[in-house]
Amino acid sequence: MNDMRYEAPDTIDGAVALLAGGRGEVRALAGGTDLLVQLRAEMIAPELVVDLKRIPELRSIAAEDGGFRVGAAVSGAELGEHPGVKALWPGVVEAVELIGSTQIQGRASLGGNLCNASPAADSVPAMIAARAVARVAGPAGTREVPVEEIAIGPGKTSLAKGEIVVSVLLPARPARSGDAYLRFIPRTEMDIAVVGAGVSLTLDESGVCSAARVALGAVAALAMLVPEAAAALVGTTLDEAALERLAAAASGACRPIDDKRGTKEYRIKVAGVLARRAALIAAERAGRS
């Protein structure tokens, strides 16, 4: 039984130095809604926990090049009350706001959701669809990484020892764009996605889809981009045939497991259903923007 050390630095460099210098298992802490659960379940036993919530860069939301840079430890509740982000990327915000419940929202962060590397993390398909880019700081400096490259397997990330995600850039987007995220859970909240689908798209002046990204969660070891599904939408007005092709492509891309949360068969079918429903919501939002 070793005692666990807790540090709460107020700079990025301080956090990186602590995490890089830790002797045994080290963990960054944002909201703790995954970390504390894992600690109590004795899934992890870190020697050092470094709380990131005192670092200003991780707690702020700033406009940048027509988009927004969201600090990795910003809570769901804070993000949900940011009118700018909500207007530009409503699908990402609704995905973050689905996490847990009112109580969990007060703590849970986008960075924690990303770095926990669960295949079912709700904000990740929405961020992938949004072409979000994570800023990673570490002992070797800072690098920019597309969000889909952070998780490399369930519970595993591409972050090196001492690296943290500082922020996520939700980029600028053309007019007539919209995004949406839907997930299926058997209850209405406090559950883990059985399937998640994020869609981001842009319409041209005549209502034809000119660009699209479709990402799915909980249907494979990693949240994934599904280019075939996006291709089904581009060049269409999201007519019935296009939506059918979208659903089929989304279902076809699934490589799910059978587990206590859902059968393979069920996940495959519902992935198509949700992709289609999310595409319609995204298009409706694009038409309004």
Binding site: S101, P186, R187, K260, Y266, V270
Partner: protein, 770 residues
């Protein structure tokens, strides 16, 4: 007014014409402020100086011989004060005793509390330690070496009945079968309830429907895990603080398991964060006492949620075949059922009450119900609200619905045409007294809910339910304080607002203000034996005791007034909360209030204390009918409950808000049972969803506001007409929802839970078939 010979008091129904001041009103509960402020002490909130932490080592195998247990390394660890294994418990011979509405057997309890020859389910307790810290206790568990010989296991009851199934108990010979089998099996018992001749009944039927049903075991899912603190001194005096539905029953079990005198164990019941039947049995209490006895220090034990799921009792899962016949005009001619209930690792599933209840809502001439009690490598089942009844009545109520559809009769009308009423002989024996099934059905039919229009993919379902309710041994004391307030000493732990109802009855009888009566749940040394809070008995049985104790107080107050006025006692009457001279002396003296008499009690004979010790008889059954509207998402299989109405006979609602709370809580638990709750086992016999994330009870946003209608057909054996109400509400939801889904989709589901994957699969199969 009927004289109740069992209690020696006048406890018959007083009639509905007496004007009541408190009964039927909705004052705040005496325990409410403490509960909303966090001041109330639940099981895990007790702290005692020098307290050790106790932890349990649990079997990782669903079925294994325990060849040896070596605790020497754990005992050598600094900070470890005691270790307990099977060697610390003497064996017990087979003896069934009541625990709530279920029977328990000491031979089995001693083995369930601590595995003996074998571990019989994953999570079965194998050893326990007490140490100076949580961390040391956990480390000590890792140092205990158990030599297991894993054995093949069986999880499903039907599998367990096969001749080549792994045998849990080598000496289990099926009871109730003639001639007795010569070979052991996993079938503990066969029960049968028959009236009339079902073959003749089916021969007379125009329509016969036969269906098979499966239900999954479900947990009571009380939010508070099991927790206790035990303290045994060097001279063997023990204190136990525990979260329990019955501290006297817990005391009896612990005394027996630990070879202690009952007088040596004093048990205090903490506030309880839900029980639903699951806290009528002991798990941690004997271990904490055993550890404390060894260590001579207090020991605290608290289960994790994971332990609650793996090692405490759900109710049975079941496989059932139901057959019902009726004439064209809707008269049911026969009902037949075969029920296989899995009991978990030890015999004692609620198949018997399940069999008794199956057709109880109906007035039938021909009934045959056969039940089987089957052991499997799962935690031993425990009582769960109306144990056994929700399972069998679910299956029957689905078939009744199908029958209504086949006959083209409204499902409420079909039930009304066959409903049990006063004088109906139930298949399990007795004749019903006044009961409220017909009233609940009539009010359901007249309710706006039943007429409201439905949208696309929506459906409406109806189902009824029956539960016996019980009475039993109960004490209560009512102390009149010097200032005219009163202290009410009770023995039934308050799970659903019973303190409020009991104070209201005391205030009503004494004619004083409700908030002048302060209740406590006494420890086992401070009040005589009182059976547990279960069987919907607390408000009924403790209510009878409280009324009797209050009438004892009134009698004493009249005596005191007579003494003061120097007139005969029978010349004093009690009216409007005062003693008044009556008869020839009427008007001779100013009436004296309870407070006035109490103030000078010292001069008239000392304190005034009323008491009652009774074996409460005359508990009356409660019937209810539920209406539910659902909407089905045809592309995901999700079922959303849109509207829900519970109509149930309460006899008389002492505190209507808490009666409504029982109705609503039962409906919500039933919604979980119907739609999502199930135990998921891997092929290795291990439970995969031992937590609230994947064992899905409904969250608040999953359910609509549950509407309630309290039907009142008074129980003639209670002064105010009370019936138990706590269990019946969980019976109808599963069938009501299945019937509503059928109404929405035209698909009859016969397996619970009706979870989204299962519903979607059925929808897709139907589409493919078309």
């Amino acid at each position: 007014m009927a004289k109740d010979t069992d209690t020696g008091a006048d406890t018959g129904y007083m009639g509905g014409d007496k004007e009541l001041k408190w009964v039927g009103t909705r004052p705040p509960r005496p325990d409410g402020v403490d509960k909303v402020t966090g001041r109330a002490k639940f099981g895990a909130d007790f702290y005692v100086p020098g307290m050790l932490i106790g932890k349990v080592l649990r079997s990782p195998h669903p079925h294994a011989l325990i060849k040896s247990i070596d605790t020497s390394k754990a005992e050598a660890l600094t900070g470890v004060k005691a270790v307990l294994t099977r060697d610390d418990f003497g064996d017990r011979s087979s003896e069934f005793v009541p625990a709530g509405e279920m029977m328990v057997n000491y031979r089995d309890i001693v083995r369930n509390v601590m595995a003996r020859e074998k571990a019989l389910y994953e999570g079965h307790a194998v050893a326990a330690v007490a140490a100076t810290s949580n961390a040391i206790a956990k480390q000590a568990l890792k140092l205990i070496e158990v030599d297991y010989e894993p054995l093949p296991h069986v999880i499903d009851a039907v599998e367990a009945m096969k001749p080549d199934a792994p045998l849990l108990h080598e000496d289990m010979i099926t009871d109730g079968v003639e001639p007795a089998p010569t070979k052991p099996s996993n079938v503990a018992k066969r029960v049968e309830f028959t009236i009339g001749d079902v073959e003749a009944g089916f021969a007379a039927a125009d329509v016969v429907i036969e269906r098979a049903f499966d239900t999954s075991p479900v947990h009571q899912a009380y939010i508070e895990p099991h927790a206790c603190v035990a303290s045994v001194s060097e001279d063997g005096q023990a204190e136990l603080w525990t979260t329990t539905q019955g501290h006297y029953v817990a005391r009896a079990h612990c005394a027996r398991l630990l070879d202690m005198d009952i007088s040596k164990i004093r048990v205090t019941a903490s506030e309880i964060g839900g029980g639903f039947g699951g806290k009528t049995v002991v798990y941690l209490e004997p271990l904490a006492l055993g550890l404390s006895r060894k260590a001579c220090q207090p020991v605290k034990m608290v289960m994790s949620r994971d332990e609650v799921f793996r090692a405490s009792g759900p109710t049975s899962g079941a496989h059932m075949k139901i057959k019902v016949g009726a004439t064209k005009d809707g008269k049911i001619t026969a009902g037949q059922a075969e029920l296989i209930y899995q009991a978990g690792a030890f015999q004692g599933s609620p198949v018997q009450p399940g069999a008794m209840c199956a057709f109880a809502p109906y007035d039938l001439e021909n009934v045959k119900v056969v039940g089987w009690d089957v052991v499997t490598n799962r935690p031993k089942v425990a009582a769960y609200r109306a144990p056994g009844a929700p399972i069998s009545e679910y299956a029957v109520e689905c078939v009744i619905d199908e029958l209504a559809k086949r006959l083209g009769i409204d499902p409420i009308d079909l039930r009304l045409a066959n409903a049990a009423k006063e004088g109906t002989r139930a298949a399990y024996g007795p004749k019903f007294g006044p009961i409220g099934l017909v009233e609940s059905l009539e009010q359901a039919k007249a309710h706006p809910h039943y007429q409201a229009p439905l949208g696309p993919n929506q459906g409406r379902g109806v189902a009824s339910g029956f539960w016996f309710n019980i009475g039993g041994e109960t004490c209560a004391s009512l102390i009149v304080n010097e200032d005219g307030t009163a202290a009410l000493t009770l023995g039934t732990p308050d799970i659903g607002g019973s303190r409020a109802s009991l104070c209201m009855m005391a205030a009503e009888e004494l004619g004083i203000e409700y908030d002048r009566v302060r209740p406590i749940i006494a420890d086992t040394a401070s009040l005589g034996y009182t059976f547990l809070t279960g069987g919907s008995r607390a408000t009924f049985s403790s209510g009878l005791a409280v009324i009797e104790a209050a009438r004892d107080v009134v009698r004493q107050l009249c005596e005191r007034a007579a003494k003061i006025w120097e007139i005969p006692t029978d010349a004093v009457e009690w009216a409007d909360g005062t003693a008044k001279p009556a008869g020839a002396n009427a008007g001779d003296f100013e009436p004296m209030s309870l407070a006035a008499i109490a103030a000078i009690a010292g001069k008239t004979g000392g304190p005034v204390v009323g008491h009652a010790q009774i074996n409460a008889q005359g508990a009356a059954p409660s019937f209810g009918t539920h209406l539910v509207d659902v909407e089905v998402d045809r592309e995901t299989g999700r079922v959303t409950v849109l509207r829900y109405t519970v109509l149930q006979d309460a006899g008389k609602a002492i505190h209507p808000a808490y009666v409504e709370g029982q109705f609503q809580g039962g409906a919500v638990q039933g919604i979980g049972w119907a739609l999502n709750e199930e135990y998921i086992y891997g092929p290795d016999g291990k439970l995969e969803n031992a937590g609230f994330l994947d064992y899905r009870i409904p969250v608040a946003s999953d359910v609509p506001m549950i509407d309630t209608v309290i039907v009142e057909v008074p129980n003639p054996r209670h002064p105010y007409g009370v019936r138990g109400v706590g269990e019946t509400p969980i019976i109808p939801p599963m069938a009501a929802i299945a019937n509503a889904i059928e109404n929405a989709l035209g698909i009859r589901f016969t397996e619970l839970p009706m979870s989204p994957p299962r519903v979607l699969k059925a929808i897709d199969e139907m589409a493919a078939a078309e």
